[in-house]
Amino acid sequence: MNRIKVYGTGCANCKKLEAMCIETVAELKIDASVEKVTEIEEIVKSGIMRTPGLEINGKIISAGKIPTKETLIHWIRENTN
């Protein structure tokens, strides 16, 4: 099971990225959970300084931006089994 985490305190961009991840995972038929991390302590611990942050299977992929759909598909494909 793959784990995707979206870090963000709950602003519009963070919600959008989470929704995009859920959608993409379903479309690619990948077995993965999409989690939202909202506690500041957790966000800071991950080393992310801009939200939304994206982590796939323990690896921080991006921070502070919403990727295009193609980029997100590429990231998820590359970092999941």
Binding site: V44, R50, A63
Partner: protein
């Protein structure tokens, strides 16, 4: 994928052509095509609108694209490293400059603040960054450039920088570290190096995404704002604002700041108001002070920062920045 570089190269001559022909096109539409009578209120207002809207949108597209590319070179993670061991003042100058080119939205303010402070960036240097990033805004820059010319735009950037540098320096000298919430010090902060192979085509992509996002979001405010501005241009009497916001009213600068702080507006919404105020007799220093307090000091951001800063530090921060803005307002009123 390589031909992405061609898009801006091809777009540039078109952009220059459009920009250069704005005036003659507007003249043609107003006087030849619509055949309107010269020097009437309505003609003046319509000419202003038809000329300014495409001009501001063209400038906005160009500058947002360039800044979008520049920003790919500056991530906060990288900036944190640059600012790490810097001394006060030199660090304040550097972080204020970096604040201009680094994007962050107010929901990132806390992780950014903690990330900086924990990495050993001095408190005052961190504040210089936090002040300059929202205060010097590319949309405000474009609108000032388009509506008032480069002198005013340059003045805006310079004064914003001075406020960020001096305020950060003062906060640093006051030794206010004890007013950071205790839990911040107990956190373990991770260090992440986001591996990203950034090719130049990716940077162009970022520029284009920035254009799509920012221009896509603010064009409607710009059109509305310019429409209001055009209306005021044509119909409101010339010295309407002089009594309340003119130079002779010494109290107008602090009052503008007091009104401006609780107001929360994006730059696109505020500049057309600024333009209208100015054209009706308000003085530049007063209006600049009003604009900076609206976009640079925002109540929502302070409420967010309250989670990591104790009240005395927030009040000091707001007080110093507000004082800086007021001084700049007076200086401009005296000089111009």
């Amino acid at each position: 994928m390589k031909n992405k570089i061609l898009i801006p190269i091809l777009a540039l001559p078109i952009w220059i052509f459009l920009y250069a022909s704005l005036k003659s096109t507007t003249d043609f539409i107003i006087y030849s095509f619509l055949n309107l009578e010269k020097e009437s209120h309505f003609t003046n207002a319509l000419w202003f609108f038809i000329y300014e809207v495409p001009k501001v949108l063209l400038l906005l597209t160009f500058i947002v694209f360039i800044i979008g590319i520049i920003r790919t070179y500056f991530s906060p993670e990288r900036i944190r490293k640059i600012l790490g061991g810097k001394s006060l003042f030199a660090g304040n100058i550097l972080s204020s400059l970096l604040g201009i080119v680094t994007p962050f939205c107010s929901c990132s303010a806390i992780p950014l603040f903690i990330g900086f402070v924990q990495a050993g960036v001095p408190l005052g240097v961190t504040f210089s960054f936090l002040i300059s990033a929202p205060m010097i805004n590319e949309i405000a820059l474009v609108l000032l450039l388009g509506l008032f010319g480069w002198q005013t735009a340059l003045m805006y950037v310079t004064t914003g920088l001075i406020i960020a540098i001096v305020s950060g320096y003062v906060i640093g000298r006051l030794k206010l570290e004890k007013y950071i919430e205790d839990w911040v010090g107990n956190l373990t902060v991770g260090e992440t190096e986001i591996e990203e192979k950034i090719l130049f085509t990716n940077r162009i992509d970022s520029g284009m995404t920035a254009v799509k996002e920012i221009v896509g979001k603010v064009w409607i405010y710009i059109i509305l704002g310019i429409a209001v501005g055009a209306g005021i241009h044509g119909y409101v009497p010339e010295n309407f604002m002089a009594g309340i916001m003119g130079k002779s009213a010494w109290w107008s600068v602090p009052v503008s700041v007091l009104i401006g702080v609780p107001m929360y507006s994006n730059a696109a919404g505020i500049i057309p108001i600024v333009q209208a105020l100015l054209s009706k007799g308000a003085s530049l220093g007063t209006v600049l002070a009003f604009m900076m307090s609206v976009i640079g000091l925002s109540l929502p951001e302070m409420i967010i920062l309250r989670k990591v800063l104790k009240l005395p530090l927030i009040i000091t921060f707001a007080g110093i920045v507000a004082a800086g803005i007021i001084i700049v307002g007076y200086v401009f009123n005296i000089v111009y």
